[in-house]
């Protein structure tokens, strides 16, 4: 049986209501025809059979028609959380390999942001036409839809039930929550959540109608009541809200289904008083399998009759499922595992480990003892937060409480309780709370830290986000998203291998040719969103930090690609523009990062190399700007650059580093002439720039007049820091090609070992430096260490290559030999550019070791 068949049996040709809204009602047949129209629209967008259909929509009749239309036409709808940040959405989109994301108009901006990060486009459905009914036969084991886990920790994960599993779930529900043709169901859960779309599919499978609800509110509850809701799904906090607003009884459902958190006895009693004819059913489940267990209406009545303990349970396992407790401890607490046909994601042995600690009593009632991830281990002792929470919640001064472990040097972890007091003006004394639980739980479980809060942080599905509670004492882990970025990027790269693999080999031609060859990949990296990471939104970036681009570049090199020639200058010069000339950054950063524009630096002069403070190129103020006259040299990319950041003297001659100003100079302006400098690497790596009365408008000042020294110092930390990270990424690739070489001499082991040590030293040093830069902190004189390690590694790899590849490297004219000769020659300049090694050693000795400065 597939869900498509189930849908056909229940709804095609039926004139019973299937979708009920305040404005209209669709019969089953109309829903089927709307779904057919949606399927035709998806055809037009190029969605193939078996492809995922990402839906950035809240629940509405149209959203249901789109999802159902996708499933019935053999596609796989994937509703996405509409409150997720763009970056997380992008990760999900990449996971779905989506080229198009469908978004409702209200969410188009968010969709565009996410899509640009995931190299996708956005389609906004207008009014969906009615179309021919399409309900194709699919395999029972083919995917029916995608639900992303709500994720109280970490990024959302895709769960993909098959038709067989979905139909099994409908079967389990028919026993647990017996809905039928006379019922109208309304879920307060977000559409993307399993209690949203999966419940909608389950309810339609049972033959009951759905009242779509985009987001929970008290008014919407009332509206659902008016529309004749017979079964509602809420979480206990919503029940509390409705009770407080005296609105719970504005609807009269036959069934009230709730989940996500246990219910407080007082809440239950009040709710039952308000809705005396309603059957309360608590469902415990998770995205991967639901329901796992059920606390029936009968159990609720027993609870009010004195068995209050039952409310601390999540009821008994649902029919047709096997439940076991794995590795129980002395108290019978262990991880709950379930095996059943309606499990969407099981381990290889067919069991789904729920990640919940629990215990099953003799009558089969299940008590939860927290997430396995939430277990606190204090000095080797296990503490389950739920136990501590339950010991506290009986205190009259406490409305809500959540318990987490926080790091502690002595104990590893200690217990912290976050308490929402009944009366926020007069919270109970902490010592009293600790005394209160002393008789109820073991001493080592007593919270050492108690904090008060106005409310507990909850995610969209009502679960307490424990990580946030811990986060008050912890720094966020910056590596988590970086790792995801690298993984997602490598997947993207693999998907575009055919198109991009030509960029694996370095261009052997001269500089203009090499830059031209790198343009397409820069463009793809930008358009795919990867090189937009970490730049501010103002300049066309996507926000985030430099570190995101750094992992992308490292991953690019890992996959055997050469680092594009554009990358270095952008990484070095763009941060300076962003900080000191944001008006220029707006147009230029994206242009260069996309490979459309080449930049160079104009710092050194014939008489000012390492001693930059003695430069003589003059800039004289005139009306509307400055006129620059002088000569620059050692400008990498100078012969092809459109723009140059140029340091010139605006102060008196002899004003040293105080009289300097940084300019943004158009290399095509009148008075600029450029002569390439041929180098021993075989290319013209740099150029001389002659400036003869070149006019530069005032708007092209970078930083303040006379402030050039600070500006160039700011830039140099990127030339010495971020650039070192780029170089290690490339150098690892170079050594990789050497170790994989088919013929190596007998002394290769020690040479390769030496080479690796220089890279390990560079990377170990450059990684924390880059994170410091990414965190927005300026680097101190320590950066000279990175610069020295970088040039040492450059030289070491090139020297080792000459020995390993001897004599071919000296004799042959193969691409490999030519490339290595060029690299070797280029490595000689690495101890000179960006501040000669001697200057770096002086800086280390004077600024870091405190040795006297004598000139």
């Amino acid at each position: 049986m597939t869900w498509n068949q189930l849908f056909r049996d229940r709804w095609v040709g039926s004139d019973r209501p299937a979708i009920v809204t305040a404005d209209f009602t669709w019969t089953g047949d109309e829903l089927a025809r709307r779904a057919g129209g949606a399927a035709a629209w998806l055809d037009g967008l190029g969605f193939e059979r078996g492809s995922f259909v990402p839906l950035l929509m809240d629940e509405s009749a149209e959203a249901i028609a789109l999802a159902v239309g996708a499933t019935l036409s053999g596609r796989i709808p994937a509703p996405l959380g509409t409150k997720m940040p763009a970056a997380d959405l992008a990760v999900a989109l990449r996971g779905l390999d989506a080229r198009v994301v469908i978004a409702e108009e209200r969410l188009a901006d968010l969709a565009c942001q996410a899509a640009s990060l995931a190299a996708a486009t956005v389609a906004v459905p207008g009014a969906l036409p009615v179309g021919p009914i399409m309900c194709i036969d699919v395999d029972e084991d083919s995917p029916a839809l995608v639900i992303h886990t709500s994720g109280t920790t970490g990024a959302p994960k895709a769960i993909i039930p098959s038709h067989r599993q979905l139909v099994a779930r409908v079967g389990v529900y028919s026993a647990t929550l017996p809905l039928g043709a006379a019922d109208r169901y309304c879920s307060a859960s977000p559409f993307a959540h399993t209690a949203g779309i999966t419940m909608t599919y389950t309810v339609l499978g049972l033959g009951a109608a759905v009242i779509p609800q985009d987001w929970f509110s008290i008014d919407k509850w009332r509206e659902a009541g008016r529309l004749g809701m017979t079964c509602g799904l809420l979480v206990p906090t919503m029940i509390d809200m409705l009770l407080e607003a005296d609105a719970l009884a504005d609807a009269h459902p036959r069934f009230l289904q709730y989940g996500a958190a246990p219910i407080h006895p007082d809440t239950l009693a009040a709710a039952l008083r308000a809705l005396p004819d309603t059957q309360f059913v608590q469902i415990f489940g998770q995205t991967e399998v639901s329901p796992i267990s059920c606390l029936s209406h009968q159990d609720h009545l027993l609870a009010l009759d004195g068995r209050l303990d039952l409310l601390r349970t999540v009821g008994r396992v649902v029919p047709g499922a096997e439940l076991r407790v794995e590795n129980p401890d002395g108290n019978g607490i262990g991880e709950l595992a379930i095996r059943s046909p309606h499990t969407f994601a099981a381990d290889a042995d067919g069991w789904r480990r729920t990640g919940d600690f629990g215990r099953v009593d003799d009558d089969g009632f299940i008590t939860l003892h927290g997430r396995t991830n939430d277990r606190i281990i204090r000095g080797g002792e296990n503490i389950y937060p739920v136990e501590v929470e339950q010991s506290l919640i009986g205190h009259p001064g406490i409305r809500e409480v959540a318990v987490v472990g926080i790091p502690d040097r002595r104990w590893g972890e200690i217990v912290k309780a976050v308490v929402v007091p009944e009366d926020s003006d007069e919270p109970p004394p902490i010592a009293e709370l600790q005394q209160y639980v002393r008789d109820r739980i073991a001493r080592f479980k007593i919270p050492a830290v108690v904090e008060f809060a106005a409310e507990l942080p909850r995610n969209a599905s009502g679960k307490v986000m424990r990580r946030e509670l811990r986060a008050t004492d912890q720094q966020p882990d910056p590596s988590a998203f970086l790792e995801q970025t690298a993984l997602a990027f490598r997947a993207w790269l693999a998907a575009h291998d055919a198109e991009l693999s030509v960029h694996r080999s370095e261009c052997l031609g001269d500089l203009p040719e090499a830059l031209l060859a790198d343009r397409p990949i820069m463009q793809r990296l930008w358009d795919g969103g990867w090189m937009r990471l970490g730049w501010p939104v103002d300049v066309g970036g996507l926000g985030g930090s430099t570190a995101h681009r750094a992992v992308v570049m490292d991953a690019l090199a890992t996959e055997g690609y050469a680092v594009p020639a554009f990358y270095g200058p952008v990484e070095i010069i763009a941060p300076m523009l962003i900080r000191y000339a944001p008006h220029l950054a707006i147009t230029h950063v994206a242009a260069s990062a996309r490979g459309d524009e080449v930049w160079c630096q104009g710092f050194s002069e014939p008489d000012a190399g390492s001693d930059l403070g003695s430069l003589r190129t003059r800039a004289v103020e005139v009306e509307g700007g400055f006129v620059i006259t002088g000569q620059k040299m050692w400008s990498s990319n100078g012969q092809v650059a459109q723009w140059c950041c140029l340091l010139a003297r605006t102060g008196e001659p002899g004003s040293g580093y105080r009289g300097l100003t940084m300019f943004w100079v158009d290399m095509h302006a009148a008075g600029v002439s450029v002569v390439p400098t041929r180098c021993e690497s075989g290319r013209a790596e740099t150029a001389e720039i002659f400036l003869d009365g070149v006019f530069v408008p005032t708007t092209h000042l970078i930083g303040p007049l006379g402030g050039g020294w600070s500006v160039v110092m700011y830039l140099l930390q990127f030339e010495r820091g971020a650039y070192a990270w780029e170089r290690q990424a490339d150098l690892h690739g170079q050594l990789q090609s050497l170790v994989a070489h088919p013929t190596l001499p007998t002394n290769a082991v020690s040479l390769v070992g030496e080479a690796y040590l220089s890279l390990f030293a560079l990377r170990s040093q450059a990684a924390p430096t880059l994170m410091t830069l990414a965190g927005g902190t300026d680097l101190g004189p320590e950066i000279s260490v990175d610069k020295l390690l970088m040039s040492a590694a450059e030289r070491k790899i090139a020297d080792v290559a000459r020995q390993l590849l001897w004599p071919a490297l000296e004799l042959d004219d193969t691409d490999e030999a030519v490339l290595w000769r060029r690299r070797w020659a280029y490595s000689r300049i690495t101890t000179i550019y960006g501040g000669a090694a001697e200057v770096q050693r002086d800086l280390v000795a004077e600024r870091l070791l405190g040795l006297p400065r004598v000139r």
Partner: protein, 323 residues
């Protein structure tokens, strides 16, 4: 668990206090009572790293290498258990070999001699626990008597042997020991540099502090760069604990120590050549520490061999994991 800069300084100060106040024999007890063992559970990189660096700088001896090895192999930290390191023979990674009637143990014991009643030895098949009673110990004065090095020998019958770890555990233990030794070498090299900087600021020739001569500055700058890189390498090896990073960290540390020995000795002039001046003690300690668990020269080859046979160059550490 992350420890911030202030906390790190506190840990460093308290460990320094313990190290200087305690005799080698009761150092273990002192460490236990100082809360170091809890720190080891919470943040082994800091617990072992800081202790190793501090004792290297102060030329003291503690069971830190043994603890690092036991910890890395997931064995209980027990003051009555020490490790027999492999003998200083080439790159020999084993301190026990199977013989006809049991296991022949031949290796080196650090600070554990005298306090331990059981020893973990490294063998081809993994880690074995042997009773102290089956071994004989001979002090090794050699270049540095202060290290408390002993040679352990004996044949232990198979019935007295307990297998406590597999080959992976042995590799992990050796990597753990190398990380600790790397920390100790960095500490020693750092102290040599600090002492030398103080000396060149105070020693005057030609009417100026010799530390103002560029030839002197550049030698010491190179030493600083090598030590900084080695310290970053040790941190990276903790972030990404595996055999290759441990070898690389120990190589960088051993080489930094050699460079410090050479350049710092040179700029001290004749005084460091005398026994009256303490400089030689750091040189000797470093040479012995570099010898334990593989010299830098040997491990460099070992890394090269690994890279060539796997045809892969590890890109570690990952960005964003640093403390």
């Amino acid at each position: 668990m992350m420890i911030d800069r202030d906390e790190l300084a506190l840990v460093r100060a308290s460990l320094r206090h313990v190290l200087h106040r305690s005799e080698a024999a009761d150092l273990t007890a002192a460490l236990v009572s100082s809360g170091w063992v809890e720190l080891l559970v919470a943040d082994p990189a800091v617990a072992i790293g800081v202790l190793a660096e501090e004792q290297g700088s102060a030329l003291l001896a503690s069971p830190v290498v043994d603890v690092a090895m036991l910890h890395a192999a997931d064995l209980d930290i027990d003051p009555t258990v020490a490790v027999v390191l492999p003998p200083l023979r080439g790159g020999e990674p084993m301190s026990a070999h199977g013989v006809a009637d049991g296991w022949a143990v031949d290796g080196m014991v650090l600070a554990g001699y005298g306090r331990a009643d059981r020893f973990v030895v490294t063998a081809l098949t993994g880690l074995l626990m042997v009773p102290a009673g089956g071994l004989t110990f001979a002090p090794v004065a050699g270049g540095d008597a202060g290290l408390g090095l002993h040679r352990a020998n004996g044949v232990v019958p198979s019935s007295d042997i307990e297998v406590v770890g597999d080959e992976a555990a042995r590799a992990a233990a050796i990597a753990g020991g190398r990380r600790a030794l790397a920390g100790e070498l960095v500490g020693g090299a750092g102290q040599m540099l600090a002492n030398t900087v103080a000396y060149v600021l105070q020693r005057h020739q030609y009417g100026r502090a010799i530390g103002s001569f560029q030839a002197v500055k550049h030698q010491l700058a190179d030493v600083h760069v090598a030590i900084t890189a080695a310290r970053s390498g040790v941190a990276a090896a903790w972030q990404h604990p595996d055999p290759v990073t441990a070898m690389a960290a120990k190589c960088l540390a051993g080489r930094a120590h050699q460079l410090a020995s050479t350049h710092c000795h040179q700029v001290h002039g004749g005084i460091a050549f005398t026994t009256e001046h303490g400089f030689h003690r750091w040189i000797r300690r470093g040479q012995l520490l570099d010898s334990l668990l593989g010299t830098s020269a040997h491990l460099t080859d070992e890394i090269g061999r690994h890279l060539i046979s796997s045809a892969a160059v590890p890109r570690v550490p990952a960005l964003g994991n640093e403390r």
